[in-house]
């Protein structure tokens, strides 16, 4: 591309920006976007990995695998929910600072965007169907029925993953948007095609499901081993499988990461050999090294660290991914999200961070404490006075939030 073509693309991207601007410094949206994407993709990988274990268990005659498959189905269905709800945040933040790119990419593949919604619902319902058909079996070593539903669910999840991968890839090619809009001289208003993808990039993110699921298995053993009714042979076996998955999976993912870096578009320049280009791959292989060094024997503390470590690895990868986007759009196409018009709004900015920290922090601390303790208790769990107090405080914080909403609202209304 010559300079004049680049300059036309730059001008187009700037023209597409929303004239309302953004209510705080753009870097904050990018930071939150990266953080929430790392959380989102962790649960996506958890959902895919545990679904794969469920499926493997369903087709395996080994009673341990069948039990593990049934146990991981519980994780899978919660992970889908969490992946969806957490995924809302990066979806929100990307359209704040990269709205020209996200909206164009979506409109050009609109049918797939709508299809995404329907396919994801079907995938989730298929998983629940499998769960309801087999969930009643007390004996988890019995071969499950309706296995087609679980296969369908996993395949459809991969399809929605690919749609999202393609939409994200299209963002990186503003130079091709107009070409995609006009096919053989005729405008294509149908939105029926997915125009860009990189199989290595897609395979890399999907492959991380293997080490993440491995991390889940290690955590599973550690979490369940304290129960009075724990079957230690089975749990130890599950943890050993998990360790293998972390190590082998991380190596596979690193190879795929390298393949992705080797197939970056020319517009990415020398990103593959830059600090962040290398850091992403190092982080992934580091997970295998960490597992080799720290998950020996009982590893009582580090077993609980397996998933947080996966999150850290995912965070580094998420930063690399964001830096790649910035590298292409800023360094090559001169679109800098940092110069988005700021129409500062302190109230809504402050309200979000306070709600996130205080409301979110207090309630989730209470919820997760209850869930954690209940999972480790045989029979009915009755919380201690301190945990009870956490619940009361959380309720009051919620009530105070609601009061401030209406007090501020009525004040503004009456003003």
């Amino acid at each position: 591309m010559d300079a004049s073509q680049v300059s036309q693309v730059t001008e187009m991207m700037y023209a597409l920006r929303n004239p309302a601007g953004v209510p705080t410094y753009p870097i904050i949206f990018i930071g939150l976007g990266v953080l929430t994407f790392a959380l989102h993709i962790l649960f996506v990988q958890l959902m895919l990995g545990t679904s794969a274990i469920t499926l493997y268990g369903a087709f395996n005659s080994n009673p341990y695998w069948r039990r593990l498959g049934a146990a991981m189905l519980e994780i899978a269905k919660v992970s889908v929910s969490v992946a969806i709800v957490v995924g809302v945040a990066p979806l929100l933040f990307v359209q704040v600072v990269y709205d020209p790119h996200w909206y164009t990419s979506n409109v050009l593949s609109a049918n797939w965007v709508i299809g995404f919604i329907i396919i994801l619902i079907l995938a989730y319902w298929a998983m629940y169907y499998f769960y309801f058909v087999n969930g009643k079996n007390q004996d988890k070593t019995v071969q499950p029925t309706s296995r087609w539903a679980m296969i369908l669910s996993l395949v459809l999840m991969l399809v929605v993953g690919f749609i999202m991968h393609s939409l994200t890839s299209q963002i990186l090619h503003p130079e091709l948007w107009k070409e995609w809009y006009i096919q053989n001289g005729v405008l294509d208003y149908s939105g029926s095609a997915l125009h860009a993808y990189n199989p290595w990039r897609f395979a890399f993110f999907i492959s991380l499901a293997v080490p993440v699921a491995g991390g889940m298995l290690v955590t599973y053993r550690r979490f369940k081993m304290v129960r009075e009714d724990a079957d230690h042979d089975y749990l130890n076996w599950a943890a050993e499988v998990g360790k293998k998955w972390i190590k082998a999976g991380s190596v596979i993912s690193t190879v795929l990461y390298v393949a992705w870096m080797m197939t970056l578009p020319e517009t990415a320049g020398d990103f593959a050999t830059s600090f962040w280009g290398i850091a992403g791959g190092i982080a992934v292989i580091f997970y295998a090294v960490w597992a080799q060094l720290r998950l020996k024997g009982e590893a009582n503390f580090c077993s609980y660290m397996a998933l947080p470590m996966a999150l850290v690895v995912g965070l580094v990868v998420a930063i690399s991914r964001e830096m790649l986007r910035y590298g292409i759009l800023n360094d090559f196409f001169h679109y800098d999200f940092m110069d988005y018009k700021v129409v500062m709004d302190w109230y809504s900015t402050g309200l979000f961070f306070l709600t996130f920290a205080i409301v979110g922090g207090s309630v989730l601390a209470y919820f997760l404490t209850i869930a954690w303790k209940t999972g480790q208790t045989v029979g009915v769990y009755t919380p201690s006075a301190a945990v009870n107090k956490m619940g009361t405080i959380a309720i009051w914080i919620m009530i105070i939030w609601m009061i401030q909403f209406f007090v501020v609202g009525f004040y503004i209304w009456a003003k």
Binding site: M12, A15, L91, L92, V113, I114, M398, M402, I412, W413
Partner: protein
């Protein structure tokens, strides 16, 4: 270059992009309102179960909660972002306006959304696994979190119709855009409706209760909840209509389909009758009856209500400054937003649109129909489908055999001047008026297929001309090279 923030157009010929948004939104409203209402109901029932030490109420929560988890939380949590997706592709500047003004509000809602999703699993799966007091606390938190998601989103929905306070246009500010009369009345109305739908959908679960006494108790509870909320909701609807702009009332009087009012009245009467019957004779409450009522409310109540709300905003799609065709049609000094109409008046829509292909930037005899189609897709297709079916098809608005001259007169005299109250002003150069008219006439008189063929012929003719020119250039270059030799 004078470019404005217009994206490519997505055109769905069967139902139209507008209806796709409406379908997803309607389904989401059913799911989300049921979820929020049920969350508050659960908080009440769990509190009662704790105070009266009752297992049956917790069992009901578990059954209803599991049912909701699969049918409303799964579908609701996906169709929620699904509304973003569908509006992104159908109305990118409309959703962009909301996102850029209320991103933090949505982010705040997201915090409650996370609490809600974790909470629903805990409410369902911890029945019998934690003591009743703990379950009650979880339910109360869950109920408030669900309500918080609603109070937040209603402010944003209200902004779509009209910014909270008029002063927002002059001074901007999130609070002025968010809070207003319309916000609070709509919130009350939606909460009332939320309890109505909760009572109806809850009937599907109550129908499965085996113990006659408990079934009677729950049928009565839900019945009273439904009757009171339906009556309050109907009253608030009347009040709500006083809070919308005059323009919206004008559209409502003139443009809403004839079935709108009878449909709403019938669904209100039917809902009240349903609750009275199920309270008096709980044995009539079977899953089929409750399921039928849920679908009836969805089809005869929600669909007309959501589509009416969409229609009443016309010609705007968000905040009374973004037109339904994505053009910004009004200055908003408080946000330093400038109307894009002057730019279009100056250079024409084809040169102002960033995605206009090079060969369509100037209208000529060789691209007339294709340029006209591009303008129609940009200006018209969001509200009027150029196909036989779809949203308010264009062919319904023009007589058969309409002439080019008459069409040009209409386009120039009515559309470019913004003379129709509920339609955007659509500036065009004379050449663009001619192109749009040519397209509309052909589409109307010969149909979409013939128009496609005409565009194909234009493209082929241009390609031929280009090939000939390239060949001639090549010959000229060869001649020149021989002469030099």
């Amino acid at each position: 270059m004078d470019l404005i923030s217009l994206y490519p157009t997505w055109y769905e010929p069967m139902v139209g992009s507008g209806w796709v948004v409406a379908l997803i939104a309607t389904f989401h409203v059913l799911a989300s309102h049921t979820s929020v209402g049920a969350a508050l109901l659960f908080a009440y029932l769990s509190h009662k179960a704790y105070r009266e030490d009752r297992e049956d109420l917790l069992d009901f929560i578990k059954k209803y909660g599991l049912f909701l988890l699969v049918f409303t939380y799964v579908a609701g949590s996906i169709t929620g972002p699904g509304i973003w997706y569908s509006t992104t592709v159908a109305s990118p500047n409309g959703i962009g306006a909301l996102i850029h003004s209320f991103v933090w509000k949505w982010a705040t809602e997201w915090v409650f959304f996370v609490i809600e999703v974790v909470g629903v699993y805990m409410i369902v799966y911890l029945v019998g696994r934690v003591d009743k007091q703990t379950h009650m606390k979880i339910s109360v938190i869950f109920g408030i979190a669900s309500l918080a998601t609603m109070v937040i989103i209603v402010g944003i929905l209200s902004f779509m119709m009209v910014p909270g306070k008029e002063i927002w246009f002059e001074e901007g500010g999130y609070l002025n855009g968010f809070y207003g009369t319309n916000t609070f009345i709509q919130l009350g109305m939606r909460m009332a409706f939320m309890f109505t739908i909760t009572a109806v959908v809850g009937g599907i679960v109550v129908a499965g209760i085996k113990d006659p006494e408990f079934k009677k108790e729950m049928a009565r509870k839900l019945g009273w909840l439904g009757i009171i909320s339906t009556l309050i909701g109907a009253a608030l609807l009347q009040w709500y209509l006083t809070s919308v702009p005059d323009q919206a009332l004008l559209v409502m009087e003139n443009r809403l389909p004839e079935y709108f009012v009878p449909s709403i009245v019938a669904v209100l009467a039917g809902t009240l009758a349903y609750f009275i019957i199920t309270m008096l004779r709980p044995q009539t409450l079977v899953q089929g009856f409750a399921g039928f009522m849920s679908v009836a409310i969805l089809v005869a109540g929600l669909w007309p209500e959501e589509t009416a709300r969409e229609s009443m905003r016309k010609p705007w799609v968000a905040g009374q400054y973004v037109y339904s065709n994505q053009v910004i049609g009004r200055d908003v000094p408080g946000m330093d937003i400038k109307s894009q109409l002057p730019i279009i008046e100056k250079v024409g829509i084809l040169k102002a649109h960033p995605f206009t292909p090079e060969h369509l930037r100037e209208v000529n005899d060789g691209n007339m129909i294709q340029a006209g189609e591009f303008i129609a897709m940009t200006y018209c297709s969001n509200c009027h489908s150029p196909s036989e079916t779809g949203i308010r098809p264009l062919h319904r608005y023009f007589p058969d055999g309409v002439t080019q001259e008459r069409m040009e007169k209409y386009v120039k005299g009515v559309l470019t001047t913004g003379n129709i109250a509920y339609m955007p002003k659509m500036p065009m150069l004379d050449s663009e008026v001619k192109a749009l008219s040519a397209y509309l006439v052909m589409n109307n008189n010969s149909g979409p297929e013939a128009t496609k063929v005409a565009i194909k012929q234009e493209v082929e003719a241009r390609n031929r001309a280009l090939a000939e020119k390239q060949a001639q250039d090549k010959v000229a270059t060869l001649d020149l090279a021989q002469e030099v030799k």
